[in-house]
């Protein structure tokens, strides 16, 4: 397994050389390994969306370097089409971006543009729709305007999957979905990562889903990566959370309050069962954990 995305000292300024210039990225450093599932979190305006738009060449580096699967994005001879096939980007509210009248056509748009034979296009559309949770037979001839928000989002996701990307980048994939649809989508994303071996990079402000999905978390603030680590490491680091105004899963918030009263609990224990075990250990000090109450 190699490094699939490598970013070195990436800087980006919107409206450069104007009075409205705004530096969104101020020297980003990160690398993502093949097959990883990583989350990028950070406060509004921290540069998350600007960063991920570099991954498929929507934005090109102004300064610094971005390498995707060995290709340098600053290379003037960059094969942009090839890159976009490799890295699929699903925007926030992708349901607003469907443009074909029929579901099947919308999903087929990318593969058709790739000039694939019709049979292959059809196979890919079928595969992508099923992967996104849409029955090919039942849905391909439905008009896109008559779909529910959740269905539209699946169509948009299928459109990206139909390119069979190696890396899937998602911006706030579950924003606005209800608990049922959210759970289903998270399960699917996990499947793309674990079963289909896609590298997944997602931006999220939902710490519950970051905790349950990510192998590794990057915390962004003011255009830089200010911390990285496993969910336990990040959520167990109160300073980072407070300093960068990042929420934590509710379990972690509760553990912090308990710790604040002087009880010894591991605040990084974000899973429901581990959080419960931490609390039980102070209620029954002789039990689960070896150390007693107090210091």
């Amino acid at each position: 397994m190699g490094t699939v995305i490598e970013v070195e000292d990436l800087r980006y300024t919107y409206m450069e050389n104007t009075p409205l210039a705004h530096q969104a990225l101020a020297g980003v450093q990160l690398s993502v390994e093949e097959g990883e599932c990583v989350a990028i979190i950070g406060h509004t305006g921290s540069g998350k969306s600007t960063l991920i738009q570099h991954f498929n060449g929507l934005l090109r580096p102004q300064q610094g370097r971005v390498r995707v699967d060995g290709q340098d994005l600053s290379d003037p001879g960059l094969d942009l089409k090839g890159l976009r096939r490799k890295v699929g980007l699903v925007f926030q509210n992708p349901e607003d971006q469907l443009f074909e009248k029929w579901v099947g056509d919308d999903v087929a748009f990318g593969p058709l543009k790739m000039g694939l034979p019709l049979k292959e296009v059809r196979d890919r559309v079928r595969w992508a729709m099923e992967m996104a949770g849409l029955s090919f037979e039942a849905m391909k001839d439905r008009p896109t305007y008559a779909l529910s928000g959740g269905q539209k989002r699946k169509v948009a996701l299928a459109g990206v999957l139909a390119l069979r990307p190696k890396v899937l980048v998602l911006d706030e994939p579950t924003a606005g979905l209800d608990p049922r649809s959210r759970k289903e989508l998270l399960g699917r994303i996990e499947g793309f990562n674990r079963r289909e071996k896609m590298t997944v990079i997602f931006v999220s402000h939902n710490m519950e889903e970051v905790a349950c999905l990510a192998d590794r978390i990057f915390v962004m603030a003011a255009g830089q990566i200010v911390a990285q680590g496993t969910p336990r490491e990040i959520f167990g680091n109160r300073e980072v959370l407070l300093q960068h105004r990042i929420g934590a899963p509710e379990t972690v918030e509760i553990l912090y309050r308990i710790q604040g009263l002087g009880y010894p609990v591991d605040v990084g224990a974000y899973e429901l069962d581990s959080a419960a075990a931490e609390i039980v250990s102070i209620l029954r000090p002789q039990g689960v954990k070896s150390h007693g109450p107090g210091i």
């Binding site: 959740g150 606005g176 209800d178 049922r180 509760i254 069962d273 102070i282 107090g294």
Partner: protein
């Protein structure tokens, strides 16, 4: 008992898909909302909860049955202004609700439309921005604000109309944890000042804030009661594919192993209090 502010009587509502197809979204819903109440409406996508909310100020009108706002029937267009003045709505997407380029102009927008005199307008804008904690942003362009701040501006725009009831249709679902907390604080404060609040949401921790929870399923009220009662009926909630607040689930797990630990907790602070009650303050070393 006080007169209800909003009364729904046997309301059914059909969406027309095309000339033949009609979908019944609400089925014979009756309910009363009293002045000063904080009501949460919960349900998954497609349950009818947003359609229900849009009946509270006449954006939608019932196919069958009647909705009365302060006694005015929403079907009667002569009362539209009276009704909209009393019940204001805030929607899901902050960006779709902001119309002006400066925060205070945005708050003023509704007032200008109803011809409020300038001096009165200034007073109302000040009060509305103060109520949502956005006074210091009054001269800023709204597009630089965070999602939570934009929603607060949207709420201020509604408050400036001096409604008696605020209806929030998934107003926090696009916000991060911070933004959500900001909005909940604002709602809590408004509620304390006597505002009637109806919050449509699928976040259970938000429903825990309310006095009363209505669970909507397939266009009907499936459950109704104080949040603590509702969240104890976990089997039914699970069947309706709804979440249970983290605090409630955590309390349940702890209770299984420490029977003395109360299982029916709904707020994070209650977990902390319960830990202190059982472990005792002396367990604390800090």
């Amino acid at each position: 008992m006080k007169e209800p502010l909003i009364r729904m009587e046997g309301v059914s509502f059909d969406y027309r898909l095309n000339s033949e197809e009609v979908v019944r979204v609400l089925r014979d819903v009756s309910l009363d909302i009293y002045p000063g109440e904080y009501v949460a409406i919960i349900g998954h996508n497609g349950s009818g909860k947003s359609t229900l909310a849009k009946h509270f100020n006449g954006i939608l009108k019932p196919t069958e049955g009647n909705v009365y706002v302060a006694g005015f029937n929403t079907k009667d267009d002569r009362y539209r202004r009276e009704i909209r003045r009393r019940v204001g709505m805030v929607f899901q997407h902050p960006d779709n609700q902001i119309v002006a380029t400066i925060v205070e102009d945005d708050v003023a927008f509704g007032l200008e439309n109803i011809g409020v005199p300038p001096r009165e307008m200034r007073k109302r804008i000040d009060a509305a921005l103060e109520a949502v904690g956005m006074s210091s942003y009054r001269n800023r362009p709204p597009h630089h604000l965070s999602g939570g701040q934009k929603q607060r501006v949207a709420i201020a725009g509604v408050l400036a109309m001096e409604p008696r009831c605020l209806v929030l249709d998934e107003a926090t679902s696009m916000l991060d944890a911070h933004g959500r907390r900001e909005i909940l604080q604002v709602l809590r404060r408004l509620h304390q000042r006597g505002m009637t609040i109806i919050a449509v949401s699928h976040h259970m921790s938000e429903a825990a804030e309310a006095d009363r929870v209505l669970v909507i399923e397939a266009g009907r009220i499936a459950m109704e009661g104080p949040p603590r009662e509702i969240f104890q009926r976990q089997e039914l909630l699970r069947r309706l594919q709804l979440d249970i607040p983290v605090a409630t689930r955590l309390a349940g797990r702890i209770h299984e192993r420490v029977p003395d630990f109360q299982p029916d907790l709904i707020h994070p602070r209650e977990i902390v209090d319960e830990v202190v009650r059982i472990a005792g303050k002396k367990g604390a070393a800090g």
